[in-house]
């Protein structure tokens, strides 16, 4: 039972096509979900996992239609519950590679509790949260990641609730892998996807996704060429936090315990903040950075190891089996206090 799927089995050489199902894709034209689907299908062959050993589990939402389009095993379940369902699946079948596909509403509103627990338990699943900052499928209500004051059909005078930051939430839950990708940065998304998929334990990948119908350009800071150059901070393990145009680099440094943006040329190299994926506290600071005061970090914020829920339980099972042998119901039934009533008593 290898924890992250059946990498013991030799997988055939696949191409992207092998992972395309025969179903018509039904997202709106121009939806960011198409790019994500394509990136996932492209990344799959590189994972080297036989496709019959791959399962996509989703909740409900535009994003959650995803499994229908993957030529693997798939289960489109109910709103918010995919992480819980995946937990049961992993415990039953630790030989499978399990992906969870969810949205900002599915994963952080109705399913927020399950998200918390799948992360803290460190169940070995790869979670892809498509964050479009809106409820797409129900036609455009604000979501738990929508900005305060968001005007939607359900909030004509602006939303009154402050948004949750998915990365900070995941880190707060004790996630062992937390990353961010952008639907329009295909190459980077693919690489980050593969990193997430290879992680042992619960991997949380937020994908900034465009809903061109109900919340177009919500992530324009990552789409607009000029802004992107200004704000995109690509995290690389062991490299300093540098961003901005090549001729005018900025750096994020620590001023005491507070992150601060400075011109790179104004500080000595020793003052730069070197990204360390194993530093959970640093990841928590990074998670909170966002434009316009800070750059927008993308890539892997954190990657650490911790005991995996189902492995711990299955180890216990193995221990019980090796110490006492397989259970026998006939023996159990007659164990403990019993008494015999004989014929004619």
């Amino acid at each position: 039972m290898s924890p992250s799927g059946a990498d013991a089995k030799e997988a055939p050489k696949y191409t992207k096509k092998d992972f395309e199902s025969d179903q018509d894709v039904r997202w709106c034209p121009g939806c960011g979900d198409y790019a994500i689907l394509s990136a996932v299908q492209k990344a799959m062959p590189d994972l080297g996992i036989p496709k019959e050993d791959i399962v996509f589990i989703s909740g409900i939402g535009c994003s959650s239609r995803f499994p229908y389009y993957m030529n693997t095993y798939g289960f489109h379940t109910i709103h918010g519950r995919a992480p819980a369902l995946a937990t049961g699946l992993r415990l039953a079948r630790p030989d499978l590679k399990v992906f969870v596909v969810t949205g900002d509403g599915d994963g952080l509103s109705i399913g927020g509790n399950h998200m918390l627990h799948v992360l803290r338990r460190n169940v070995n699943v790869t979670i892809l949260l498509f964050n479009n900052r809106i409820y797409g499928l129900t036609k455009g209500q604000y979501s738990p990641t929508s900005e305060l004051g968001k005007v939607t059909k359900s909030t004509p005078m602006g939303s009154a609730d402050r948004p949750v930051n998915p990365l900070a939430f995941a880190l707060g839950c004790g996630a062992t892998f937390v990353a961010r990708a952008v639907d329009r940065n295909i190459q980077h998304m693919e690489e980050t996807l593969k990193r997430a998929a290879r992680h042992h334990g619960a991997a949380f990948l937020e994908i900034l996704q465009n809903c061109n119908v109900y919340n177009d350009l919500a992530w324009n800071v990552m789409y607009d060429k000029e802004q992107k150059v200004q704000y995109e901070l690509r995290l690389q393990h062991g490299k300093p936090l540098l961003f901005g145009p090549a001729d005018d680099r900025s750096a994020v440094i620590m001023d005491g315990v507070v992150p601060k943006v400075v011109k790179a040329k104004d500080v000595p190299e020793s003052a730069l903040w070197t990204h360390d994926e194993r530093n959970v506290n640093a990841a928590k600071l990074l998670a909170d950075l966002f434009a316009p005061d800070f750059p927008v970090p993308i890539g892997v914020l954190e990657d650490i190891e911790a005991p995996i829920y189902e492995n711990v339980l299955l180890d216990q099972e193995q221990r019980a089996l090796s110490e006492r042998g397989p259970g026998d119901i006939a023996k159990l039934l007659t164990s403990g206090d019993t008494w015999r009533i004989s014929e004619g008593a």
Binding site: K51, Y73, I78, A86, L91, N113, D328, I329, A330, I341
Partner: protein
């Protein structure tokens, strides 16, 4: 031997034969009444009697000492003939404090044996129980009952005065004095309790010694104290020969699952969120990892059911268990299993409701929830065990049906069955019907919603099977292909197909066994934990020469195929239930019979006396 006991050597004590006796031990939550009752049950099992028990404890974990709501009790009936219920009225009440007396004395028969621990009747406890004066000083108590005032606390301390235990530890053993005394009164063997003490306190010899001595002191007190002029023998019951054990409903459910896991050779995943009175199933299953039974203490009931569904999707047996409030939360998940046509077993250990209701008390009011408590047309199979031991067979049967028909099965147990125990004839597991699970591996001609012609079940495919990759989900799908479909005719067809699949489970139901004449004046129809009370009441009316029969349903959906016919063989149909009339409504709707209900919703089992009365009323009213 205690010196405070009246020396009465030489007093000859008469031994009287009884058919049966109903005893209740009642005291403060901290008085160990559950343990006392359980040990007395074991002793009675050794004596070869048939037994039914009724534990009753407060919802509060550590209810304030001495209060009325902190009273905990354990009742049992044992007999030399078949015992169907824990009994209605008490032959003997042991009251360890004033609160216990106040709460329970009303159930004691006039002339019944009342044993009280006098030392607990101090000012403080009397105040807490709301007694203005000590009821033991009221002569009417001794006139109405055979009152025995015993200073159990003092006698206990006396018996172990030389042991190096503190006063509190010594005090705690006084329930063994009560047990020893009542064991003498009903000539129960002490061996099983002595054995239990040895095992339980092997590591703390001083406690073992104290309990042993106090138990024997209680016994000896009965034997020698003048106040007890007689004691009683209850002959062994005529029971089917074989090996027996005491079985509670919750343990039986858990063991039924173990048997199913072993027989099917498929791992079982049990997802649950703790809730009274279902938690013990989770605890029990967690002990048996060797059966490849895997337990998840989920974050909530929704996660519990969906993790079980995930396990089923993976080719394991997914089971979840809760009580009514939790099952309410599971509704949407159960609907998903209906739609995805995956096996799923749901235990609902019913308790008093709605909302939090009476968490530790029994009720049968989730039948409608089980049958209809989901959105849209969402039929599932519903089973109900009749006795604690029957829970074993029902759990096993639930797994068998779920896997064979690819359908969710709800098992309706209740608080009474869950905690109650009975002497249970241990079955040979080899005689249980096989659970045949054939995962589809054949690629040719595969479709996710291809149906077995006999059961209408779709194929169960384990992910990991090459060439059978497919997607399922909660959206309506085309029959056979499983492709998403919004076609109106297809939806109508699928609604009917899902219903028909459940209906076909009727072919698994054996002919209904009728207790009594095959045709007559009154048929009493019951289900669940009221089996004993109904059977006892019906046998009594029949002994009075009346034409009354009963049947007890274990299949609530689909109903037994012969039920409609049986109902028409009697002039009146009576349906006793611990709800305000749920099965009776189903029977009236399904069969157009003028069935009438007998309904009491007190959080308590129905008394056979009141059912007896209801039958007679119905007989009288039919003219």
């Amino acid at each position: 031997m205690s010196e405070t006991a009246t020396p009465a050597t030489g007093v000859s004590k008469s031994l009287k034969e009884l058919d049966r006796a109903v005893i209740r031990f009642a005291g403060d939550s901290g008085d160990g009444m559950q343990l006392t009752g359980e040990q007395f049950t074991t002793e009675s099992a050794w004596a070869g009697n048939d037994i039914a028990t009724l534990p009753n404890f407060p919802a509060e974990i550590r209810a304030p000492a001495g209060t009325l709501f902190g009273v905990s009790s354990f009742q049992l009936q044992f007999g030399s003939q078949r015992v169907y219920t824990p009994g209605d009225r008490l032959d003997c009440l042991v009251a360890m404090n004033p609160a216990a007396l106040k709460v329970h004395v009303g159930d004691l028969k006039t002339g019944g044996l009342l044993i009280v621990n006098t030392q607990a009747f101090d000012k403080r406890n009397l105040d807490k129980a709301g007694y203005a004066a000590n009821p033991l000083d009221d002569p009417t108590l001794a006139e109405r009952y055979r009152l025995h005032k015993v200073d159990m606390t003092a006698l206990t301390h006396e018996a172990i005065k030389d042991l190096a235990l503190n006063a509190k530890e010594k005090d705690r053993t006084k329930n063994f004095f009560a047990l020893g005394l009542v064991s003498w009164i009903y000539t129960r063997p002490l061996e099983p309790t002595l054995e239990w003490i040895r095992k339980k306190f092997g590591k703390t010899p001083s406690i073992a010694e104290a309990n042993t001595r106090v138990l024997k002191a209680g016994h000896a007190f009965g034997e020698t104290a003048e106040i007890f002029g007689e004691h009683y023998a209850v002959e062994p019951a005529e029971m089917a020969p074989g090996l027996y054990r005491a079985m509670t409903g919750n343990r039986a459910l858990a063991w039924g699952l173990l048997a199913a896991a072993q027989r099917s050779k498929v791992p079982l995943v049990y997802g649950a969120y703790p809730i009274t009175p279902a938690s013990d199933i989770l605890h029990e299953l967690a002990l048996h990892k060797r059966f490849r039974v895997r337990t998840i203490q989920a974050e909530d009931e929704i996660a519990a059911v969906t993790s079980a569904i995930g396990a089923s999707f993976g080719g394991a047996i997914g089971v979840t268990g809760s009580s009514g409030p939790g099952v309410a939360l599971k509704g949407e998940g159960i609907g998903l299993a209906v739609m995805a046509e995956l096996p799923l077993v749901i235990f609902d250990i019913q308790r008093g409701g709605p909302s939090t209701g009476l968490p530790t008390k029994t009720e049968q009011a989730d039948l409608m929830q089980a049958l209809y408590g989901r959105n849209s047309e969402s039929p599932v199979v519903v089973l109900a065990p009749a006795t604690p031991g029957d829970c074993f067979y029902i759990a096993y049967e639930a797994v068998r049906i779920a896997a064979k028909y690819m359908v969710p099965v709800i098992v309706l147990s209740d608080g009474f069955l869950a905690n109650g125990s009975e002497p249970w004839l241990i079955p040979d597991p080899a005689t249980l019907p096989p659970i045949e699970i054939g995962f589809r591996t054949e690629k040719d001609g595969f479709f996710p919603y291809l149906r077995d012609p006999a059961t209408l079940a779709r194929p169960w495919v384990r992910p990991g099977t090459p060439g059978l990759e497919h997607r399922i989900g909660g959206i309506e799908k085309q029959d056979v292909t499983g492709n998403i479909s919004y076609d109106p005719e297809n939806h109508d067809h699928m609604v009917r197909t899902r219903a028909e699949k459940v209906r076909r489970v009727a072919q698994e139901i054996p002919p209904t066994s009728i207790n009594g004449p095959a045709t007559g004046d009154v048929l009493v129809v019951g289900w669940g934990g009221t089996y004993g009370a109904i059977t006892a009441a019906v046998e009594r009316t029949r002994a009075e020469g009346k034409s009354v029969a009963s049947i007890h349903l274990r299949h609530m959906n689909p109903l037994p195929p012969d039920l409609g016919h049986i109902l028409r063989e009697y002039r009146r149909v009576l349906v006793p239930e611990i709800n305000s009339g749920q099965l009776v409504r189903v029977l009236r709707a399904e069969y157009l019979v003028d069935a009438v209900g007998f309904n009491r919703v007190r959080g308590l089992p129905l008394a056979s006396e009141e059912i007896h009365e209801a039958i007679n009323q119905l007989l009288g009213s039919q003219a």
